[in-house]
């Protein structure tokens, strides 16, 4: 202990006085020990340490002042801070920092450029990391989230992952899944509003009573559901999300136990007792757009949800808590097994079961995007570092004489190297501070640009983790780019260099390093640009693809109409009259150019689909994989969507009940089922009825540009193919101007014939399209942004390096010109020098891109990742930009006046 205290006192004392101070302290310590005992001496020593520490700054200042005086006495000049043999002294550190600061100020231009490059790239890194961190890295807000498992469906058609069907969930629950300790589900409920609060509605979710137990969430207030709440008649209870409780009930704890009346979109009232409030930030399911305030109510399956007869709606977010020791694969096998055993599904499943960790389910859709963004940001940071390194190295070479002088005056090489490290650190830390400030703005901008499929985006922000990472990254950057000039300073025999003509030799040494930097930088930029080009090309291909219909100015409105009170025999007639009435009213709305109704499958791009098989003479029943997407439509449907008729005719008002059954197929169905005959006029059997095919339409991409075309079948909605008349439908409307402007009038026109029910869910097909292509749009904009930053930064690097090389070679150039070299020859030499490096860099970068191109395969659509044209384009672009950047230094070289150049040094 005594030794440690003495060592600390020693450390706190200026080097020059250490021996005497420690000696004096030991002497006093011994004296007190003899007089008052060892304990008193130790007590005194502890107090002495604090007194020494308190007085240390003044002592150091005084000692430093004395050293300076001493030095002035010796040499008559003052060389601040070059204390030679003692490189790790407080004061010398302070002096070095100060000197580094002055060095940065002196090279203002370089410093500003380096600062700008670093700030931009670190800010980009900080924003990207904070998004990735929140969306993917942070654990879910549940207890032991690692054992939570999501059970989902993956569509065979488009590969999308969707929730499971309630029928399946109920079947699993009834049979019991032994792989899970417990299993729960959440389903979307109706949009609700509170009585007396007419305007703002909020979401409701129907959940099994054990959901929050399975997730391991504890109530913020009150309690959660218990099993008896799942009994019909006992379900008059609700749990509020924390933000709903704050927004609508003012965070009043007294709301627990209160009866509250909720009104749903069908104007139905239900009074429920509020029994609990969720903790802040907890929501289930965690998915895009689902994090707004919600009320949770007990899940009581409807009749339709209990039976497979009416088809399945994929709406149950099923979560299970995996039993200890059970693998995902085992759980998957068991659920498949159970499902196969109960499958009495009349229509064919076009999806399969997927079992994955809840975290993967939440993060999955964003994974590829985030990998891409992280990789791009990493590359940009690399380019920035290389760039700043070459800027600093170039300046260090210019400062070689200064360094040599300092060395000659006794500064150690370590000391000189440290100066550069300090410059790098000051620069990168300043850039980090500026970058973090910019990130606050950048994050709020990025949030508004994120794709809808990304979950948890609302909690993205700058926090301690993000700060830690960005500061660490910038310090690493600082050390990385400062190490090049530091290495130069520590290795060069500076004095020898100065004698030998300084800059030339030093230039040659660092020119080799600069070449390596130039090549590396070009390689990184080329690699990034290949990825950018592929991703952007995919976006362009996707958004410009012909979908087979005109998506502009079209909207769809879902509605329901009940005919239960009409005698069964008259229902078809009543429904036909209702449809004619509805269409007449809608078509009369100003701005509407055409309107039609469809049922079974939803509007294009809505994701809703119903598949039926067809009995074709000579082929028989179409097999599972060839089932047709079927819609029952009114006359005018194809015209409204702008779908092209290839052969035969479309439906008209004469295709009604009593007329011969007719149908229209698309060219994909023709290709599959009538490869060598004209389908028009063929009679097939649909729903047990002989049906004549009257037309062939061009295929639509109903699931968006990236899904394959499917065989389609259309039948007239007024013909009684189906036993029960259909009570729900989709109105599609084309307007002359932008569709949103007409929504209000159209919904108003629908209301009188809907018996007071509200037309539900209005969607614009253009919006659906934008949603489908949102992640591509984001990928493309992210990559374009990073690509632009990289190429600008890269061009600055090429310019800076070549300008430096030219400046270094002024004498050689002057000599050559004096010996008769022409200006064009000089220019060519400089440009060729640049071309040599840039071409090497491009080759390496493209080879690298080729090697890792498999990684972006999943992010690319419509082009292959090894598309030669893309690589050639990138090579051309990088070469062009680099040459343009090298042009200015080349001209400068050509303007060298031999007389001035030769006299200059």
């Amino acid at each position: 202990m005594t030794r440690l205290l003495l060592a600390l006192i020693r450390l706190a004392t200026p080097r020059a006085d250490r021996e005497f101070v420690v000696g004096d302290t030991v002497e006093e310590f011994d004296r007190i020990g003899q007089a008052d005992g060892a304990a008193a001496a130790r007590r005194w020593l502890r107090g002495e340490l604090w007194r020494v520490l308190a007085a240390a700054p003044a002592h150091h200042l005084a000692a430093r002042a004395r050293r300076q005086i001493a030095r002035q006495d010796r040499s008559g000049t003052s060389i601040a801070g070059d204390d030679i043999r003692h490189p790790l002294d407080w004061t010398t550190l302070a002096t070095d920092l100060h000197a580094a600061w002055r060095g940065l100020i002196a090279g203002r231009g370089t410093t500003a450029l380096a600062f700008a490059i670093l700030t931009l790239s670190i800010a980009a890194g900080t924003v990207t990391f904070s998004i990735v961190d929140t969306v993917a890295l942070r654990p879910l807000p549940f207890t032991s989230p690692e054992s939570l498992v999501a059970v989902s469906m993956v569509s065979d058609v488009n590969g999308r992952t969707t929730p499971a069907a309630p029928q399946d969930y109920l079947a699993w629950r009834a049979r019991g899944i032994t792989a899970f300790e417990a299993m729960a589900a959440a389903l979307p409920g109706r949009q609700l509003r509170l009585e007396g609060n007419d305007n703002e509605s909020f979401r409701s979710r129907r959940i099994t009573s054990n959901l929050f137990d399975v997730l391991g969430v504890h109530p913020f207030a009150g309690r959660f559901f218990s099993p008896e709440h799942e009994q019909p008649g006992y379900d008059g209870v609700a749990v509020l999300s924390h933000d709903l409780w704050i927004q609508r009930f003012g965070g009043d704890p007294g709301v627990i136990g209160r009866q509250v009346t909720f009104i749903d979109v069908g104007n139905q009232r239900a009074t429920r007792e509020i029994i609990g409030v969720l903790p802040p930030g907890v929501t289930y399911p965690i998915t895009a757009g689902q994090q707004e305030p919600a009320a949770y109510v007990p899940f009581i399956p409807t009749e339709a949800e209990q039976s497979y007869a009416g088809g399945r709606s994929l709406s149950s977010w099923v979560v299970g808590r995996l039993r200890a020791g059970v693998t995902l694969q085992e759980a998957h096998t068991e659920i498949e097994h159970v499902t196969a055993a109960i499958d009495t599904f009349p229509q064919v499943r076009s999806d399969r079961i997927a079992v994955m960790s809840l975290h993967d389910r939440v993060v999955g859709p964003a994974k590829s995007w985030m990998l891409l963004a992280l990789a791009a940001v990493g590359l940009v940071l690399l380019v920035a570092c290389v760039n700043v390194a070459s800027l600093l190295l170039a300046r260090a070479t210019v400062r070689l004489k200064e360094l040599a002088t300092r060395e000659a005056l006794g500064a150690s090489r370590a000391r000189l190297a440290r100066g550069f490290l300090f410059e790098g650190l000051i620069l990168s830390i300043a850039a980090a501070v500026a970058a973090v400030a910019i990130s606050f703005w950048g994050i709020s901008f990025a949030k508004s640009q994120l794709p809808a499929e990304l979950a948890r985006t609302d909690t993205i922000g700058v926090d301690a983790r993000v700060l830690l990472v960005s500061v660490t990254v910038s310090i690493l950057c600082g050390l990385a780019f400062a190490s090049a000039p530091a290495w130069l300073a520590s290795r060069s025999h500076l004095a020898a260099l100065t004698k030998a003509g300084g800059a030339v030799i030093g230039g040659r040494r660092s020119a080799r390093t600069l070449s390596a930097f130039l090549i590396a930088e070009t390689a990184f930029v080329s690699l990034l640009l290949v990825a950018t080009t592929l991703v952007t090309a995919s976006f362009v291909i996707v958004t410009t693809m012909d979908l087979g219909f005109d998506r502009r100015n079209v909207m769809s409105i879902e509605h329901r109409k009940s005919f239960v009170q009409v005698p069964e025999a008259d229902r078809h007639v009543a429904a036909a009259a209702f449809r004619a009435d509805l269409l007449e009213r809608v078509r009369a709305v100003p701005g509407v150019t055409s309107a039609a109704l469809a049922t079974l499958g939803g509007a294009p791009l809505s994701g809703g689909r119903v598949k039926y098989s067809l009995d074709i003479p000579g082929l028989g029943e179409t097999p599972r994989e060839d089932m047709l997407e079927t819609r029952a439509v009114t006359a005018g449907y194809f015209e409204t969507l702008g779908q092209q008729l290839l052969a035969g005719r479309t439906f008209d008002t004469s295709d009604r009940a009593g007329a011969p059954f007719v149908a229209i197929i698309n060219d994909e169905a023709q290709r599959r089922f009538f490869p060598d005959r004209d389908p028009v006029g063929q009679v097939v059997t649909f729903q047990g009825r002989p049906t004549t095919i009257v037309g062939v339409l061009r295929s639509m991409r109903l699931d968006g540009p990236e899904a394959d075309v499917q065989p389609e079948l259309y039948v007239p909605i007024d013909q009684p193919f189906f036993r029960s008349s259909i009570s729900s439908g989709t109105l599609v409307v084309r307007t002359a101007g932008p569709a949103p402007a007409a929504v209000h009038a159209i919904r108003g026109a629908m209301r009188p014939v809907l018996d007071g029910a509200e037309p539900s869910q209005t969607s614009f097909i253009d919006d659906s399209f934008r949603l489908l292509t949102a992640s591509r749009r984001l990928n493309a904009s992210v990559m374009t942004f990073f690509g632009l930053v990289a190429i600008v930064v890269g061009a600055m690097g090429v310019y800076g390096t070549m300008a430096f090389v030219v400046a270094q070679q002024v004498r050689a150039i002057g000599l050559r010109m004096a010996l008769g070299a022409s200006t064009s020859h000089v220019m060519r030499t400089v440009l060729l020098d640049a071309v040599r490096h840039v071409a090497t860099g491009i080759a390496i970068g493209l080879a690298g891109a080729w090697a890792v191109s498999g990684v972006f395969a999943s992010l690319v659509f419509g082009v292959t990742t090894t598309e030669v044209g893309v690589y050639l384009a990138v090579a051309g672009l990088v070469a062009l930009v680099s040459l343009a950047a090298a042009f200015v230094p080349a001209i400068r070289a050509a303007r060298v006046d031999p007389l001035i150049a030769l006299r200059s040094e």
């Binding site: 005497f20 101070v21 000696g23 302290t25 002497e27 004296r31 020494v52 005084a62």
Partner: protein
Amino acid sequence: MPPVPIPGEFEQLVLLTVLRLDTDAYGATIRREIETRADRRLSISAVYTTLERLEQKGLVRSWIGDPTPQRGGRRRRYFALTPLGERAMKSAHETYTSMAAGLEHRLKAIR
């Protein structure tokens, strides 16, 4: 002859101590002397800081003694007043006594 600098209060205490200790003036003894006579707790650093400053003003000079066994072989840095230091102390003392002349009784009487 250069003008005589006027030492500060603590500087005067140090100068007087160095004068009193004569040839035995080094860090530990100077500190001990001030601690006992002026009854104030000092850190060794404060003593050195002041001595450093006094040396820069040319009021004291220092030299390094031989290693002594009782402090682990570490050397002592001894201090002594320069002629300028002696004059400065003398003038400071004269100023002080002339200013205080005739006030001794009254000052003593203050409790």
